[in-house]
Symmetry: C2
Subunit: 430 residues, 2 copies
């Protein structure tokens, strides 16, 4: 299938096979609204709705839903609606004789250039949960903190370990963040000190937005969970390792994370990712029955998504240098297993809730998804390409950029980018 | 000061010195709206606004704000507005010759009986955080899990330990909850099993709603935090101890908590609690400067609030029997310390965010705030009054009720109740 409405380069993230959703505004608009990216353009979904493109989609009040500044309501409508809208969009974009298409005299009537939009958070995030689903990451961190023999905790292979994160400080790509200050204890023999984090890190993650969810007290089956994930974004789970190390026992990460979490603005749907399903890693021991797939759930719960983290180091000009090359397919626990586990005790999941993967590390050294792992807890320098610069942790002014995509035959399903700069710590409040 | 508008019994929780806020509806109303409890009545704040009672309050669009189904916007207006409204209400209720009062022919024009209302969550809770601020509770739990010598973790006396909780499953008093199912490992030598929690517990807590909060990246001082707390509710932080014990290492409590958290519907303001300030327990070692009070912050950060937990056991008729008698004054870390710590790394706090105390245990055995502590991890029976019944953990059909109040000279500032029944586990999803 080929887009004939606008030109789409073969290497574009936003092919007609992708059609990711976002919330955008332009200088002239009164309020943000829903858009879909195609090539170098953003389709104005409200405008397409007004032209009647979605008139045949049952259960969708398209003008209102796409005129909204959040995707929550649309996320709650379910996979049947999402698929029908995708089909309508692909028909419009591919077929020059499409009935609605013939009423559009110029691209500008229903689209704006990508370069002219400001992107916003795609949804109002009710709750944000962070999992810990990469065996390689959990093992690396476990070796550093507890030694090789106790690297993985006993529960890790039985359930997708996760924790509640902070929803208020999830920000969209491009938002600069100040280095956090807090308590840390650089010398374990001395009392803690207050000051800016000296071990600031990124974590390469992806995160899914929940679709219809479930009512309080009503768990989901894995087959239901498969149908209730709306789509996926890139995430940088910024981490202040020194603050986290001091605070996190026994109740988990808190201020070491809650100063900011960055996501990419375009939500790539599960239907766009469907061709890139792959088997997840073998699970041994076999998980309890509620975490196992059975028909009609597709057999493969993994996704082959290439991921890259690059740094534009402060003092290094405009060039980016590679830090991590990894892939979502390494994740031991799949997204649907995470969702079904999250709801198994009756916890209600709502449209727009965000569930992140945890750091996505692979088996090779270059696939480690954080500086903590690359510098092995700050013990050695990580060289930045041919710049002559090195890093153990993030320095003020550094920009971290995450990108990701699936490569199809002649097309790409990509995620755009998840980028953020670290600014110096603000003067202490006291 | 005495209410002359309606009768208020001396033992009523809702004196003219209290005036707690809630969101209520009645059978005839189109949508919930803001109310204030007085004696056996709920004042309809929108109706009072229409009569012009708040016309002199700068920065308050009273009809709209009080006609809302959430208190978030009001919480965001700040202590100056809250104080002015309190003053206006007290004037109206105390003075028979008040100008607005003279235009009210009968109580029914501006109030409905407490018995006729349904209460709702007072705010849309953006984020919910649970602290762990009782030294007695942390010590009890620490002894059970790690032995007497390592009861308190090294960080505990340096910072208010807390974790992000689940906002979606915070429910209002009166909401029944199903016993959660999940993974637990009753025999540490065997793999985990799936099934209903066998160690279901309550936790006696209180929680505060954040007022204006702070912008991302901008910490609060303790003096600012003092002014940015809107008010306080009772909370039951239901806990599935067996699910929690298996899942919580290393990232903290998750499904052991997220199946439900109950709060009382009436938010008692900090101005109503002002007369009941008491010194907090001595803090040794002295906290870091950002956690210390300096003028103009009031010297005393504690509050003397008597708390009770009672149980109506399944099979025991209608009677309630005492479980816990405790007091908020025992909390080692104060609410303002919790808030300033939460924001010190730049995490943005929003109006309507909820921060809970953690289990409020006192030094005496009867002051232990959970069955885990009362039965010492289920090792012995807890007798329920003279009923002949006992509990180690909560059984299906049990009702847990939390109440609390401050006793003034001839009046009471009370919290109403925080009640919930545990229903049997739903059949497993698989």
């Amino acid at each position: 299938m080929k887009c004939t409405f606008v030109d789409v380069a073969a290497e574009s993230d936003f092919s007609i096979q992708n059609l990711p959703y976002g919330v955008f505004s332009t200088a002239g608009m009164a309020a943000p609204q829903v858009g879909v990216a195609i090539g170098e353009y953003v389709l104005r979904m409200e405008a397409l709705a007004r032209l009647g493109l979605f008139a045949g989609v049952d259960g969708l009040d398209a003008e209102r839903v796409f005129g909204s500044a959040q995707l929550n309501e649309y996320m709650g409508l379910g996979r049947g609606v999402w698929r029908a809208v995708r089909q309508a969009l692909q028909g419009f974009l591919a077929d020059p004789d499409h009935a609605v298409r013939r009423r559009v005299a110029s691209v500008d009537e229903v689209a704006v250039p990508l370069g002219a939009v400001q992107m916003h958070l795609p949804a109002q995030i009710g709750d944000y949960t962070d999992f810990y689903a990469s065996r390689e990451h959990a093992t690396n961190v476990g070796i550093m903190f507890r030694g090789k023999d106790n690297a993985l905790m006993p529960n890790w292979t039985h359930l997708p370990v996760g924790y509640h994160g902070r929803a208020s400080s999830v920000v969209v790509s491009g938002t600069a963040l100040h280095r956090p200050s807090g308590q840390r204890r650089p010398d374990p023999a001395q009392p803690p000190v207050f000051g800016p984090s000296a071990r600031l890190d990124y974590e390469l993650e992806m995160a899914f937005f929940v679709g219809p969810g479930n009512a309080l007290g009503t768990p989901l089956t894995l087959e239901q969970a498969e149908e209730r994930i709306f789509g996926v974004v890139l995430m940088n789970d910024w981490s202040a390792r020194d603050i986290q190390a001091w605070e996190y026992v026994p109740l988990g990460p808190f201020l070491g994370k809650s100063f900011g979490t960055t996501i990419s603005p375009w939500v790539v749907t599960m239907d766009a990712l469907e061709p890139f399903r792959v088997p997840q890693p073998a699970q041994d021991p076999e998980p309890l029955p509620y975490l196992r797939a059975a028909p009609p759930a597709p057999a493969h719960g993994g996704y082959d998504i290439s991921l890259a983290v690059d740094i534009r180091p402060s003092g290094g000009g405009d060039a980016f240098y590679p830090l991590t090359r990894s892939n979502l397919k390494y994740m031991y626990w799949t997204m649907r297993q995470q969702l079904v586990h999250h709801a198994i005790g009756g916890c209600n999941m709502r449209p727009g809730d965000l569930c992140a993967s945890g750091t996505i590390s692979g088996p090779a050294e270059a696939e480690r998804g954080s500086l903590l792992e690359l510098s092995w807890s700050g013990q050695h320098d990580v060289p930045l390409g041919d710049s002559g610069l090195t890093r153990r942790f993030i320095e003020d002014g550094d920009v971290i950029r995450i990108t990701g995509s699936c490569q199809g035959a002649g097309f790409r399903v990509g995620f755009g980018e998840c980028t953020g700069q670290i600014l110096p710590a603000k003067p202490a409040a006291v």
